[in-house]
């Protein structure tokens, strides 16, 4: 199993005007593992995932998927490469039901010779497929015909995660997946992330909840001011070191690879 990592970022650099948002960031994620991306606010985590998911373009550096470099010019390219992102605000459609949310922007429809917008939607087929995904991921949802706006925060989060899971063939990126959730709802989402991992996805999770990171991540990368300042295996004995890396304590200075 010495194949290329599912997703590899090499020397990623991104500037917004005078601000250096990403400074030669490199990281790798393998299939069937969870990478926690840690760091204080403004560390560059969100910029990094936006570059991976095609919302921003890198100024320099490469993104490799299964060893092959991919130019992430827009969100569609990233999705075509099997990378799905769950944003903090979920990007759900409250007025639509679960199935419609799953397939938003990629509705199953026919005939194929018509432009996409003019095709006739295959409602039953989409309903069956979304039922299949919901069943596979063991998500607990009310009737799939209910509009998503009527659902609880945890259910909405589950739908957003499941929507990504349904279509991601390689990488799922989650930005603060449990930030807005209660204890029980967080539990459900964490279980869902572990199930994604078990299905062979490479998972990147941004989180401030150290307990969650300790539990689900196989590996943790800490960022500060646009750089990767340290890496660690999230185990209880490393916890203090990880926290000091995040806040920029003494320990982190010695971790820097460059002066």
């Amino acid at each position: 199993m010495s194949t290329a990592p599912t997703l590899a970022i090499r020397d990623a650099t991104k500037r917004f005007g005078a601000v250096l948002a990403l400074d030669s960031v490199s990281l790798e994620v393998s299939a069937g593992t969870v990478l926690a991306l840690l760091g204080d606010n403004g560390a560059g985590k969100s910029t990094l995932i936006k570059c991976i998911s095609g919302v921003h373009r890198l100024d320099s550096g490469t993104i490799e998927v299964d060893g092959a470099p991919v130019q992430m010019t827009n969100p569609a390219v990233a999705r075509a490469a099997g990378i799905e992102t769950v944003y903090q605000d979920l990007a759900l459609f409250d007025n639509l039901d679960t199935t419609a949310n799953f397939f938003a922007g990629r509705e199953e429809a026919a005939p194929a010779w018509l432009p996409r917008g003019l095709r006739w939607m295959r409602g039953k087929q989409m309903a069956a497929h979304s039922a299949e995904v919901v069943g596979r991921l063991k998500i607990n949802l009310p009737a799939r015909t209910a509009s998503v706006g009527m659902m609880s925060g945890g259910q909405r989060q589950a739908i957003a995660v499941a929507r990504s899971a349904a279509f991601a063939s390689r990488v799922v990126i989650l930005d603060e997946p449990t930030a807005a959730l209660g204890l029980r709802e967080s539990r459900q989402v964490l279980d869902l992330i572990l199930r994604l991992r078990d299905e062979g996805c490479a998972v990147i999770v941004i989180s401030h909840a150290m307990d969650h990171v300790m539990e689900i991540a196989d590996h943790a990368v800490v960022m500060r001011r646009g750089r990767v300042v340290g890496e660690a295996t999230p185990e209880p004995e490393n916890r203090a070191r990880i926290v000091s890396l995040i806040v920029g304590g003494e320990d982190s200075l010695s971790q820097r690879s460059d002066p």
């Binding site: 969100p75 605000d89 459609f93 938003a104 917008g117 095709r119 009527m150 609880s152």
Partner: protein, 357 residues
């Protein structure tokens, strides 16, 4: 009917619900669900009650002849309202449709005077409407305006001005037979009182329903209204969807121009004054959400018929004109308020469901 103490009990439940989690909320969830269903069916129920009451108060109201009148009067508003619905579904508004109707009618009358061709007249009316709609759509999206209110307000003024200028301020009489037949004729083969325009409304309603329910584009219209930013992130061509709804709204204003100018056998620059407000009112009264993303063609139709029935009924009952305006205004407020209450209840429903889960 709930007895007063039952109501009191269910209110107590609602207050207590978040505290004791398991058993109590189930009943409250049902109650809130019931109220939500009533709110959803509200406009139709009100329309039925309204028709029943007017039939009792006026011996003339429920006669075939008068119902034919109501349908004729509703037809143009209904078509405009269906176009307005598409725009409102995307969180927009189209203030220009009344003026567009007038401009289309005037252009149609001029083309007919020039060519004497029914086909060319209808084509000119439809194209004029679609063109104004395209100005609205492109102006809004590619002018990166914060809201379509301003651009459609501008075209409201421009289209009316063009209609007045082109016609010299006077009605231009004369419309081809096909237009007068659609707008003013009756389906004698069916019933002498049944207006042809009702078939046109039905055709428009069916086509737009097919678009909204069957086609991917229709789903995208709802998606853009539900979450404009989400639509962009999932790769829906948001700008094109937005432009399309304004073009369709303008096109339907051209269709409404066929009805109005056919009924009056003329194209006049004074057609459709304040019709945009009737159209918006119809959509909202009919139960579509003014906040976008929710509603269907049935809402626009029910709203248009309700406005027509209220006007017709009050005319029959000799209610003074100023009271009609007040009544319609009050109905609009009630409709919008029930939309707000629906939103609040849905949030409440969500909390209760989470508590009882």
């Amino acid at each position: 009917m709930l007895e007063p103490d039952q109501i009191a009990a269910s209110t107590r439940d609602a207050v207590r619900a978040p505290a004791d989690s398991a058993a109590r909320p189930a009943g409250t969830v049902r109650l809130v669900g019931l109220v939500l269903t009533l709110l959803r069916l509200g406009p139709l129920l009100i329309l039925v009650v309204l028709i029943a009451v007017l039939s009792n108060l006026s011996p003339v109201f429920f006669t075939p002849q008068n119902l034919g009148n109501v349908l004729t009067q509703c037809a143009a508003i209904a078509i405009l309202a269906i176009g307005q619905l598409l725009v409102i579904l995307t969180r927009g508004i189209d203030l220009s449709v009344g003026s567009t109707l007038a401009l289309s009618a005037v252009v149609g009358a001029l083309v007919y005077a020039e060519t004497a061709s029914g086909f060319a007249t209808i084509l000119a009316m439809l194209l004029t409407g679609a063109l104004v709609g395209a100005v609205n759509g492109f102006g809004y999206v590619y002018g990166r305006l914060p809201h379509p209110f301003i651009v459609t307000l501008a075209t409201l003024s421009i289209a009316r001005g063009l209609a007045l200028g082109l016609s010299g301020g006077q009605p231009i009489s004369g419309m081809p037979d096909i237009v007068t037949s659609i707008g003013g004729g009756a389906a004698t083969w069916l019933a002498p009182w049944f207006p042809n325009a009702a078939f046109l409304v039905a055709a428009v309603a069916i086509l737009v329903t097919v678009l909204l329910r069957g086609l991917v584009w229709g789903r995208w219209i709802y998606a853009v209204g539900g979450s404009p930013e989400g639509a962009r992130r999932v790769g829906i061509p948001r700008s094109r969807v937005l432009v399309s709804v304004y073009v369709l709204s303008g096109l339907l204003a051209g269709v409404a121009a066929i009805v109005t100018s056919g009924r009056l056998n003329a194209g006049s620059p004074t057609f459709g004054q304040l019709a945009e407000l009737d159209a918006i009112a119809a959509v909202v009264i009919g139960g579509a959400s003014f906040l976008g993303g929710r509603g269907h063609v049935g809402n626009a139709l029910i709203g248009a018929i309700m406005i027509g029935v209220i006007r017709n009924g009050m005319n029959l009952l000799n209610v003074e004109a100023f009271l009609q305006l007040i009544v319609i205004g009050v109905v609009i407020v009630i409709a919008v308020e029930s939309d707000v209450i629906r939103g609040a209840l849905e949030a409440r429903f969500r909390v209760l469901k989470a508590a009882s889960a």
